[in-house]
Symmetry: C2
């Protein structure tokens, strides 16, 4: 869901990594309780002169929409758009508005699926290496569905395919629920394959299981956090879950401000911040801003196989540099030009009426 904000002759764009219809409803709904106010009531008509105004608006949403669950997802795109708008108004990139002096290049990793067999995984690894990727994430597929030995064969095949020098990341999509021993049984093979992280071994909320597993290996760190829809959820994954990599989607956590707060917290706790991003380059740029200035937080997620929608709505996508790396752009706002013509074919008309009054109708893209 794209969000467009206008103020003072400027335009800002943001993207919610969320279900569009409930997110729109959370913006326009009539107040039902004291702390179930619509997100729009905290945003529309507000003054925006600087970053402190964005924080003030976000705090207002957090309080006035406390019992409106969807609010955090709605706010994420709005908050992002406010930073973009402010950047255009000030002619500054968002990362500079966040207090960073430089936007350090990040090493994008390719995301692949494990093959059905170790041989297929090996071929995937070889192909990724040939395509020039020096960091690769293998995910899902058969892992956790067969024996520990089967999984070990896949990890070894992935490493063999990539070669010794590449970064190998493993994502198992919450396959073990809360079962620490099932996950721990795979640790020796992950260590032998020099995997850098094991992503989402458990449900996002299984903090105890994360914590217990994190103490089983000094080499393989845990990664998680993409589902965090507020700062505290990320903080708890760090403090109680013991993750070594905290993965934040700015389109879910409430936007760039809370994501930056997680980045600061990660630095203080010796944890590495990584963006979570798999849609457009607008969302990608927004996801890079919170840790753009952290030179030591090097890895970044990059949407390698975007859907046509994600491609068509951006006029000028981010480009990888000569080293194959990307960086939050040194351009005003999020540095991404949205192409209204490109999104025209994808726009879906939504109309919401309450008590006979139209609360929402999809605006024209132009």
């Amino acid at each position: 869901m794209l969000v467009r904000v206008t103020a003072g002759g400027h335009v800002g764009w943001g993207e919610c990594e969320a279900a569009p219809l409930p997110s729109i409803a959370a913006f326009v709904c009539p107040m039902s309780h004291g702390v179930c106010r619509p997100v729009g009531a905290s945003v529309l008509g507000e003054t925006i002169d600087g970053p402190e105004d964005i924080r003030r608006i976000a705090a207002k949403v957090e309080y006035d929409s406390m019992d409106l669950l969807q609010a955090a997802h709605t706010l994420s795109g709005v908050e992002m758009a406010l930073w973009d708008l402010l950047g255009h108004a000030r002619d500054e990139p968002v990362w500079r508005l966040l207090g960073y002096r430089a936007s350090h290049p990040k090493r994008p990793y390719a995301s692949l699926l494990f093959g059905d067999t170790p041989q297929a995984t090996l071929q995937q690894g070889i192909a990724a290496r040939s395509a020039g990727y020096s960091a690769v994430k293998f995910g899902w597929g058969p892992i956790g569905r067969g024996s520990t030995r089967d999984d070990a064969d896949h990890f070894a095949a992935a490493r063999e395919g990539l070669g010794a020098d590449s970064i190998l990341l493993v994502d198992v999509g919450q396959i073990w629920g809360e079962d620490v021993e099932a996950a721990a049984a795979r640790i020796p093979a992950l260590e032998a394959s020099h995997a850098t992280w094991l992503e989402e071994p458990f449900h996002t909320s299984a903090l105890d299981a994360y914590g217990a597993l994190s103490r089983r290996s000094a080499m393989v760190k845990l990664a998680g956090g993409e589902g965090a829809h507020n700062f505290a959820m990320a903080q708890h994954l760090i403090d109680y879950g013991g993750v070594g990599f905290i993965q934040i989607d700015t389109g879910r956590i409430g936007g760039i401000g809370p994501a930056r707060r997680v980045a600061d917290y990660a630095v203080a706790k010796g944890v590495t911040f990584v963006n979570h991003s798999f849609t457009s380059h607008l969302a990608l740029s927004a996801s890079l801003q919170p840790f753009a200035g952290l030179a030591d937080h090097r890895l970044c997620e990059f949407p390698f196989q975007p859907k046509s929608l994600s491609v068509d709505l951006v006029a000028a996508p981010l480009q990888r540099d000569g080293n194959g790396e990307i960086a939050a752009p040194d351009a005003p706002g999020l540095g991404i030009r949205i192409d209204p013509a490109g999104m025209r074919d994808y726009l879906i008309d939504v109309e919401i009426k309450v008590g006979g009054r139209t609360l929402y109708a999809t605006p024209k893209p132009g």
Copy 2:
């Protein structure tokens, strides 16, 4: 938001403690992502023969709507309605379907606001005592806004008004954010006033602060949890936050099933379960079911000053017994008869169209 479910010639009712429009949208929205499916897709057309079907449907929503934030609030009312319907189909009260053998009476507490002055608080306490309440919760008002001494005067006045034998509960509505020392400074006065619990000293997510404060007093327990929208949030308040009372709203946590799971967990951890409920007697009955069979979990929240809407939509409200206590009714389902005529004046027409197709229009109450 009321939910009506029909199946096999039976009808069940539930109530979401949630913003209606986003909750409706979460039920009907088109699928946007693999795990952003509408709640309705996991519910409509499913078979419901027993409690295991309700758990299966809830698990399907949890997985298929994983990234749809509002889903938990929407599901809460639907799940409740499914239990009500199943109870009618089986001619059994929900608490019996949950495995309890008896519905033990609970001691309802009156909720009052602290007065502006200690003298006003004293008068409130005297009035509550005269009205026959043996458990009273004082909340909000000036607490935490003045000095520690001012607050101590209010706590002492409340106790003096209630007399020595009543249960005194204190609710401060998250006033101290994450400030453990500010809260801890009030503990001696709470102990001197024999307060049973201190409710919501901090933000729901401030688990560290809860945990630190819980270790400051053996006498005054912490209470919290009304904002929990899944089992894990309640579990974390118990495990990391050290609460002595876990307060669960079945209209937010995903319904009666997860609330029952919290009750079991509370028993295992020596924590007391308390319902959170402030709207209709439909929601009240649903909130009592998860701990109906726990004889030692005695306190319950009871809406003393319901709005006319809450009164009008129920044909026969729960009655306090000769001891002034209430219990989950020994009647089929939730044991609450909904009065469609009573709700007619409050119904608000909602219409949601997507791509020209009407996805939702408010049904007739009859």
